[in-house]
């Protein structure tokens, strides 16, 4: 499949703050591409540069073969955008917003099928201001998709959605993808990244930390860890074991988590030490991390680097 989005060595600073730092990735047609990262990681900045709404400092961005900064007018017909933080007029009714956006895109239909899916049909005469947070989010999703764009950018679309609504939104996004639409989505929810996205870019401090299919990311060796409880194992000693990446210690529960490159030799060392020093170990387990763990793990890596 062809690359519909290409980002190369993208840089963007606000004052001395590097919001995006040497970011490169590409997105294939018909892919659901996730961008994850903590608050302030640079997700919104990156996505809005791709939409042509912010100016990059340097690097290369190509969307559908176009330069979004220079060719935004043409591009605007072919992309759909859901912002993290914009609103529409408070006193505008749902049906009015839909009609206005249909007119802006020269469409006669207002995407009725989508409205049914989004459960907005009974809300047609409600003012935007009177919608619940999740309903607002659904409306802005409808506005982003009603002109059947080739690429849809969604900045934290599941913010404020209840778990049921979130699953429905995933289904909508998947059905859009199955029609050949490319979707770029940012999120804080690792579950969403894992279940919805075909590929995920994890960014931290504007830098790319990982880029792969979610299942491959969690397969990543560094997301595997050992967990056990011990009232007397000294934490310092654990850090010295060869191959250990990180140790988490919960003092209340006497619980340890050890992230390591080599589970087997680490285990051997643990039990050997425990045996020699007469430490007590219980609840010993090999565990496979979720994206959540991976996320926290990469953040830690970022802080020490």
């Amino acid at each position: 499949m062809e690359d519909v989005i290409i980002v190369r060595s993208l840089m963007k600073s606000y004052g001395t703050k590097k919001a995006v730092n040497n970011l490169s990735f590409s997105v294939k047609k018909g892919e659901i591409f996730g961008i994850i990262g903590p608050n302030g990681a640079g997700k919104t900045t990156t996505i809005e540069i791709m939409e042509g709404l912010r100016k990059k400092d340097s690097g290369e961005v190509s969307i559908l073969g176009m330069n979004p900064e220079k060719e935004r007018k043409v591009l605007n017909h072919r992309i759909g955008v859901q912002f993290q933080a914009t609103s529409i007029q408070k006193k505008m009714k749902v049906k009015e917003a839909l009609k206005l956006f249909a007119a802006i895109y020269n469409k006669s239909n207002t995407g009725d099928e989508m409205l049914k899916l989004l459960g907005l049909e009974e809300k047609m005469d409600t003012y935007f201001d009177d919608l619940s947070g999740g309903q607002k989010q659904r409306l802005t999703l409808a506005l982003a998709t009603l002109h059947e764009p080739e690429i849809i950018f969604l900045d934290e679309p599941s913010m404020g959605l209840d778990p049921h609504a979130r699953r429905e939104m995933w289904n909508i996004i998947r059905s859009l993808r199955d029609r050949g639409t490319t979707i770029v989505v940012t999120t804080h929810y690792m579950e969403e990244a894992e279940k919805l996205c075909d590929r995920v870019a994890m960014i931290y401090n504007g830098e790319l930390r990982a880029l792969d299919e979610p299942s491959r990311l969690v397969e990543d060796i560094s997301s595997h860890f050992i967990s056990f409880r011990s009232p007397d194992f000294p934490v310092g000693q654990l850090h010295q074991i060869a191959g250990v990446i990180d140790v988490e210690h919960d003092k209340e529960l006497d619980a340890f988590k050890i992230y390591t490159e080599d589970l087997q030799s680490c285990s051997y060392f643990l039990f050997k030490t425990a045996h020699e020093e007469n430490y007590h170990i219980s609840d010993y387990k090999f565990e496979r991390g979720t994206l959540d763990d991976l996320f926290v793990h990469y953040l830690k890596g970022g802080e020490s680097a």
């Binding site: 042509g52 529409i88 007029q89 956006f101 802006i104």
Partner: protein, 248 residues
């Protein structure tokens, strides 16, 4: 329906949904006329009635309030809350947004002018404009001068609070110094000179003249001044159009 027409229609509808704004725009000037009328009704200069001088003035003032509050401050609010940003990623061109709001403002202003004229006719025996055509052209020119002027000035404000402050400052300054509320001749010389650098002064001069004494082509000074303001501010407001208050 085209986007331009749809947006104009919606913005006009939404204006009438805000009851407080409707009151401020339509009834406040009427109350002011009533108040000043009861004070100054018998002090009009020879050959003029109170209404024939002050109703046109307040119509002029209404252009300014519409320009600054119905248009300028509202658009700054749209900038602040991201309404305009939402349009930025659509094919809707900036001039269409400005144009839609200008038409909406003109419609609302026309309503308020009719309210004032009806009120003046019923309460103060206002006569129809002597040069009706000239009066209408004068109104159009004043709108073209003031709407973009206000749109540009308020676009410099980062938020609604600042925009409202700028607007109030301009409005009050012009209200008291342009002869709209009481005769300029009652004020010290210095203030009379200051009055002449305020655009509203020319609007009022032109409206009063065409309403009472002379057609528009005999009033070339205000026509020239207002045309210049119109030209400059249309260019400024469209060239420096801002989608949002934040850095890109």
């Amino acid at each position: 329906m085209t986007a331009l027409w749809q947006l104009t229609l919606l913005e006009t509808k939404m204006f009438f949904r805000d009851k407080l704004q409707v009151f401020w725009t339509f009834l406040f000037p009427v109350l002011m006329i009533w108040l000043f009328g009861s004070m100054f009704e018998n002090q009009a200069p020879e050959g003029f009635s109170f209404a024939s001088l002050y109703i046109p003035s307040w119509i002029g003032v209404n252009i300014v309030t519409t320009a600054f509050f119905t248009l300028g401050t509202v658009l700054t609010g749209y900038r602040e809350t991201g309404v305009l940003r939402r349009y930025q990623s659509t094919p809707l061109a900036p001039w269409k947004i400005l144009f839609a709001h200008t038409i909406q403002g003109t419609v609302i202003f026309s309503f308020s002018a009719v309210v004032l004229v009806v009120f003046g006719t019923l309460m103060f025996d206002l006569h129809a404009p002597v040069y009706l055509g000239s009066t209408l052209v004068a109104l159009l020119l004043s709108i073209l001068a003031f709407f973009p002027f206000a749109l540009f000035l308020t676009s410099l404000a980062k938020n609604v609070g600042t925009a409202a402050a700028i607007s109030s400052l301009f409005l009050n300054l012009m209200l008291f110094l342009s002869g709209a509320t009481f005769p300029l001749e009652m004020m010290p010389d210095v203030l009379q000179y200051i009055a002449k650098i305020l655009p509203l002064y020319y609007v009022i001069e032109l409206l009063r003249a065409t309403w009472n004494t002379s057609p528009i082509w005999e009033n070339w000074t205000p026509v020239l001044v207002l045309s210049c303001i119109a030209l400059v501010s249309i260019v400024l407001s469209s060239v420096f159009f801002k989608w949002s208050g934040k850095a890109e």
